[in-house]
């Protein structure tokens, strides 16, 4: 089996429009959660989120592109532009045929749906823009990446709610590892901060009205974010032969299903995913210096996740660092695993662990080293990134220094 390395990374999220800006925010422990600036916000009970502030689509795309690109597609393209640019790859000939794109998303073109339902139901119009379907479809972002960069290999979209990105990246990793592709562009994109997207989450009654405080005794629920994270995964030998800069190695992945409840997480499902990722990566529990937690800031997740980590890592659980960067960029739903993988890359490459922001008070049921509020320098050689989705679908990635 081939080794798989990351040779490019890109993002746009509430913390910044690039990997460098996001790393800087992680180092500062900056929280991007604030009042939502969206239409009909006065009819929402939950008025906060981690929005990409001041975003001007016309600064990045022309009129024809905007007619076809939902906000989530735009985020995916901007993140891919940075990632593929960093990789230095150009996809022509055989390489194009052996390169594909797998993206995660949960809502797809939800803004497009929201706007057009409003047109036909609220405004009573009987005609919609001709591109509504190609704009809202869940594979639109992956499709536009394939077209923009000539990626002619296996390409599709993965939707497993909050684990979509980890499932997508895990699948892309398998494709390169097995030799089915030489390069895969992967990650996730989400833009759910519109009236309908927030209203739907409100209904579930798990949203915070102030901010996101994972692992904290005073936590009050989750906060939605938005954005995209995109990575270039490449066969190690291919990357080495062309002298590419290697950001990190993806060493293993595991996916499990709780098969029990549509929203409540299972400790066993989470444990099996972490154990499976370690085994797949041929890492021992004590090799892991950092875990980027799923850490949503809901009671159900945080208690279950900490119990699972304590059980899997036993005594080592008190020696490793675990943080939830959702406290800063919000829960980016189908993109969240991709944005969070950046914290793993930062830990491995720069030796800085992103903190859990907004933390106030110890919760005895989350008594791990959650790196409260302040980033920390540490030498990390291997880490995990957890994603535990509604539907009980879990995916954990294991990374190490290349």
């Amino acid at each position: 089996m081939r080794r798989v390395v990351i040779t490019g990374a890109g993002t746009i999220n509430a913390l910044g429009g690039s990997v460098a800006d996001t790393f800087e925010a992680f180092r500062e422990g900056r929280c991007a959660i604030g009042p939502l600036d969206i239409r009909d916000v006065d009819r929402l009970t939950i008025g906060i989120g981690a929005q990409v502030a001041g975003y001007d689509q016309a600064a990045h795309f022309n009129r024809q592109q905007i007619a076809l690109f939902d906000r989530y597609t735009q985020f995916a393209i901007l993140a891919a532009r940075e990632a593929i640019g960093q990789s230095g790859l150009t996809f022509t000939g055989d390489l194009a045929a052996r390169a594909g794109v797998i993206l995660g998303t949960s809502g797809g073109g939800l803004n497009t749906q929201d706007e057009n339902y409003r047109v036909v139901y609220e405004e009573g119009k009987n005609r919609v823009h001709p591109f509504v379907v190609p704009k809202l479809m869940n594979n639109a972002a992956a499709a536009h990446l394939s077209m923009e960069w000539n990626l002619k290999g296996p390409s599709f979209t993965v939707a497993t709610a909050c684990a979509s990105s980890n499932h997508a990246i895990g699948q892309a990793f398998q494709f390169v590892r097995s030799g089915m592709a030489d390069v895969m562009v992967t990650g996730g994109a989400e833009a759910m901060l519109c009236f309908g997207g927030v209203k739907a989450w409100e209904g579930l009654r798990v949203m915070s009205r102030d901010t996101c405080r994972p692992f904290c005794a005073t936590r009050s629920g989750m906060v939605q974010g938005e954005g995209a994270g995109v990575f270039v995964l490449e066969d190690y030998e291919h990357a080495r032969a062309r002298g590419a800069e290697i950001l990190a190695e993806i060493a293993g992945v595991a996916m499990t299903s709780d098969a029990s409840d549509i929203v409540m997480p299972s400790r066993q499902g989470a444990e099996r995913a972490m154990i499976g990722a370690l085994r797949d990566a041929r890492l021992n529990p004590e090799d892991i210096g950092y875990i980027n937690a799923h850490g949503t800031g809901t009671a159900a997740n945080d208690k279950t996740e900490c119990a699972a980590v304590a059980h899997v890592f036993e005594r080592h659980a008190d020696r490793l660092a675990i943080s939830s960067t959702k406290s800063m960029h919000g829960h980016c739903i189908g993109a969240t695993g991709a944005v969070e993988l950046l914290a793993c890359v930062m830990a491995l490459r720069e030796g800085v662990i992103a903190p859990t922001a907004n933390w106030q008070e110890l919760d005895p049921e989350c008594a791990l080293d959650v790196v409260p509020n302040t980033a920390r320098e540490a030498k990390i050689t291997a880490c995990l990134s957890n994603a535990f989705a509604f539907g009980g679908m879990n995916a954990v990635l294991a990374l190490k220094t290349a």
Binding site: G203, L204, R205, V206, R219, S220, G221, I262, V263, M264, T298, A299, A300
Partner: protein, 89 residues
């Protein structure tokens, strides 16, 4: 709306969630006793808001810490009664 009307309607809403006959609902039963899980409680709150045109203060993260007492059917009836009085004047 009289207290009995409110009680009857709350019993109907909980019975629908529990998939049992409203006559089998008693005020001293807890939602869990009736087989209503945390998701069922959230749906019950929604149904109460719709039926009585009120806003129920309820956070599913910490159901025990909400101002709205859901410990028993009777407590829910009382809580709805006071919300109806407060919010409908």
């Amino acid at each position: 709306m009289t207290h009995d009307d409110i009680r009857t309607r709350v019993h109907e809403i909980i019975a629908e969630q529990a998939m049992i006959d409203p006559s089998d609902i008693t005020d001293d039963a807890s939602p869990a006793d009736l087989g209503v899980d945390s998701m069922g409680v959230v749906e019950t709150i929604f149904a109460i808001e719709e039926a009585f045109d009120v806003q129920v203060p309820f956070n599913a993260n910490e159901p025990g810490k909400s101002d709205f007492d859901i410990s028993t059917v009777g407590a829910i009836v009382q809580a709805v009664q006071s919300l109806v009085t407060q919010q409908q004047g």
